[in-house]
Subunit: 500 residues, 2 copies
């Protein structure tokens, strides 16, 4: 399949919302399947080069892309420009991960004729699982979209990628895909390594397509669950890595409020309104002691500001519905804002309830509400706090603001059980792109043990393969004697670093 | 929950098949949930010690266990004695894995105030996912049962384990569980770390129990798929690691037959009849060139020998049914044995078909048949061979017997796509217990990218957790400054070995 044929799979720029039909999806999937062994067997230097070429091309076209994105999402050029930089930084981090070689987890046990029974030689590594379906999110039109973390980590693993465009930014999706495809082609990547499909039906068909070996998703609980069920219900189930929803609890102790209540209020106000409250790491529920001035401080910090327009009509219309559902609980009062939020320019909203109510009605009060709202939960004592924390489901993050010397070990233990990242300073809406980052958590934060952010995201698209008593020339290149020392590896049980 | 209370969960030795009722299952699950944070936070030295204590206790009681197992499975004391040794070796390997520390994948990125935006400190590690359900297999009453690879790797990960006993060896299951529980208790492991439940209903309830965080399974495609669907269908889906079925293709070239056809026939005969053909790695389909004497050689190698009784009445009655289904295909002829196999002492069976038939009717001819049978598939040329190989589903293993200098790269590529372990000498029924081993493959060989055998089995029961800007004293012990150097780790992007 030629490059131009791949491009027909994504709707033309003049009609970016046209759905991909079944025949085109089949052709795209067949091209990905044909590319899979070539991409899998590519040299690390080539694969890393492709990732850097994509990053460079996106940077070179950032102004055009940001302009389209701002028209389609109203996120603003400052935020969007930063997001392009974050996205290309992420692509380059995965290039570094590929270069490093540890991702392949090369493991060699030499033959041992003296063992009972005699042991053969086995050489093992991780290898690409095959074509990956990626479902874009609306809230990060670059970092979690066409060239986002799922795409970057799947390409780094050596997998062709087929992206399902998000309907919230159709023109941006097509233009980004064109730039990615051109960059990959120019850099010498195999035809079929990348494509974009459009439309809900194509998305549903994609996760069920026999050529697809795994899927990555960022979006809503309902949409993600539907695709998860399709992936799991296949005759041959495939792994589905979804990020579905998170309320990101924050716990603030009395001592912390006494020491720095004002600055905590300012920090929280900035965090829950960031991106109009449309971050998956938005602090949605904040546990504070009763009898403090924190609610007043937060009200002052939020002030009369409005936030930007919400991303899509669907999110905009869902926001007041979600607010009303929370406010309908007898325990809830309004600290800041109004329930019938202006859908064109929603005002930040702060609600207040108490820990007893949360412990008894978690299904109502701990429901994620996408948009600029946070719920203060007042606790009278530690028993009330822990009872309410016991009702929490999984989240991407949990944040504790306490003071030195406080006895918080059991609190940290509890927060560690419900979240994938536990913060002790700052706010969860900042997600550094580093080796150590983890952006995942117990259901429904993510569907699996793995994550779409951070270096280990690559692992989701790798499977082990072992070769027993293979002639050197028939081994994949990374497992051959002459190449072993180039990467970190475990030999006869001992971990070794890359030479030189 | 006291140790004696845990023991009531597995039926008493006098009535080992009594099903576990719902109240008892709840109590066992609650005990596992209560134990989970203690087991998770245990020191590596303690956890490794528990594994070694279990291994020592099983070795000390091997004679009694083998006697029970031989009564229940008819596998013979030689094979069963070897399997106990393999099982305790596996437990000790996982103790070594725990000691090594690399499994925790400690990753630290220090804060960088000069970055844009400034980067916080993040420390990340893998940690236990929570209580694990383990479903025993019938064919390895030790190595894939109560104290088998799933149990060993889950305990090594720091997870409590609840085993669903296999109905094929009920007394052995109870006795093994008693020994494991006693050993764990004596070694100081937390109450609730281990329990056994009995009965299909309890097994179905177990994988759906809110306390269970992951499941491991070895068994049939139908049974595994049913449990996979229950695990995936939960309100909070959990990972289900199943090993479900494998036909383990073997390809033999004309040159290999010319060079060593006799010894290949002898090796194949030993492999497909091993354990009465009840290994998941049994070579079930063997591609050989047309016009050779290999079938005759194989017939001679098999000889008039009978194999032992099959493991369970269900397997025994299914074997002739499976044979008849294969033989019903017009292309199939009988080389050795009879279709109406004696279910008490089944005779080995060799069937023969051709590659064209396999390519056109894979659903009939590539169906796994548990028991001492293998199917020779004759190919006229490479085109026929590849067409038939293209119809293969996933397998645990694929074996190639060729001669030096033959052009087999594309054959190796094809076999690498369908199997998790590719062999170039010997036969797949030997599975060495080593760091490098991989016992998994594309569906239906296994449900996931991971495996129940080999050091990386531990990873299935671990989830990442990251701590951002945490005070040292509030970090889990392995992430504290004073302990970092004790394990392999990545710091600011650089991989480092354990000190000393």
């Amino acid at each position: 399949m030629t490059d131009s044929a791949v491009l027909t799979a994504h709707a033309s720029a003049s009609s970016p919302s046209a759905s991909t039909d079944a025949a085109t999806l089949d052709a795209v999937a067949a091209a990905a399947a044909a590319a899979a062994p070539l991409v899998r067997a590519s040299a690390d230097a080539d694969c890393a080069g492709w990732l850097r070429a994509v990053a460079d091309a996106l940077d070179a076209n950032a102004a055009e892309l940001v302009a389209i994105a701002d028209e389609e999402t109203h996120l603003g050029t400052v935020r969007l420009t930063g997001e392009v930089a974050r996205t290309t930084e992420q692509l380059r981090l995965f290039a570094t991960v590929v270069d490093d070689g540890a991702w392949r987890e090369i493991t060699v046990d030499h033959a041992d004729a003296s063992a009972t029974p005699p042991r053969p030689e086995i050489r093992r590594m991780l290898t690409a699982v095959g074509p990956v379906a990626v479902y874009s999110a609306s809230n990060f039109p670059f970092a979690f979209s066409v060239a986002g973390g799922d795409t970057a980590s799947a390409l780094a693993a050596g997998c062709p990628v087929i992206v399902k465009a998000h309907s919230g930014h159709p023109r941006l999706s097509v233009r980004t895909a064109e730039i990615v495809t051109d960059a990959l082609t120019t850099a010498g990547a195999p035809d079929g390594i990348f494509a974009l499909v459009v439309g809900r039906e194509a998305g549903n068909a994609l996760v069920q397509h026999p050529a697809i070996a795994a899927a990555g998703f960022t979006g809503s609980l309902s949409g993600g669950r539907a695709l998860f069920d399709l992936a799991s219900g296949r005759p041959d189930p495939i792994p589905f890595y979804g990020e579905l929803g998170s309320i990101n609890p924050v716990v603030i102790t009395a001592a912390a409020i006494a020491a720095r209540g004002g600055s905590l209020a300012t920090g929280l106000a900035g965090s829950f309104t960031l991106g109009s409250g449309q971050f998956c790491t938005k602090p949605g529920v904040v546990f504070v002691p009763t009898g403090t001035a924190f609610a007043d401080d937060l009200a002052a910090a939020v002030g009369p500001a409005t936030t930007g327009r919400l991303l899509t009509d669907r999110i905009a219309s869902a926001f007041p519905v979600g607010l009303a559902a929370l406010a309908a609980d007898d325990s809830v009062t309004i600290v800041v804002g109004a329930i019938d939020s202006d859908t064109d320019a929603p005002q930040p909203v702060v609600l207040r309830t108490d820990a007893r109510a949360v412990a008894t009605r978690p299904d109502t009060l701990l429901e994620e509400c996408f948009g600029p709202v946070t719920l203060l939960v007042e606790y009278a004592d530690e028993a009330e706090l822990f009872a309410a924390l016991g009702a929490l489901g999984g989240s991407l993050t949990a944040t504790l603001h306490s003071e030195p010397g406080e006895e918080v070990a059991s609190l940290v233990e509890r927060l560690s059980q419900v979240a994938g990242r536990v913060l002790f300073a700052g706010w969860p809406t900042g997600v550094a792109v580093t080796w150590s980052q983890h952006h995942g958590g117990p259901w429904p934060a993510t569907t699996s043990l793995h994550t779409s952010v951070g270096a280990s995201a690559i692992r989701r698209f790798l499977r082990p393969i072992a070769f027993q008593d293979a002639p050197d020339a028939l081994l994949p290149a990374p497992l051959r004697d002459a190449n072993l020392a180039a990467a970190p590896r475990r030999v006869d049980g001992t971990l070794l670093l890359a030479a030189g």
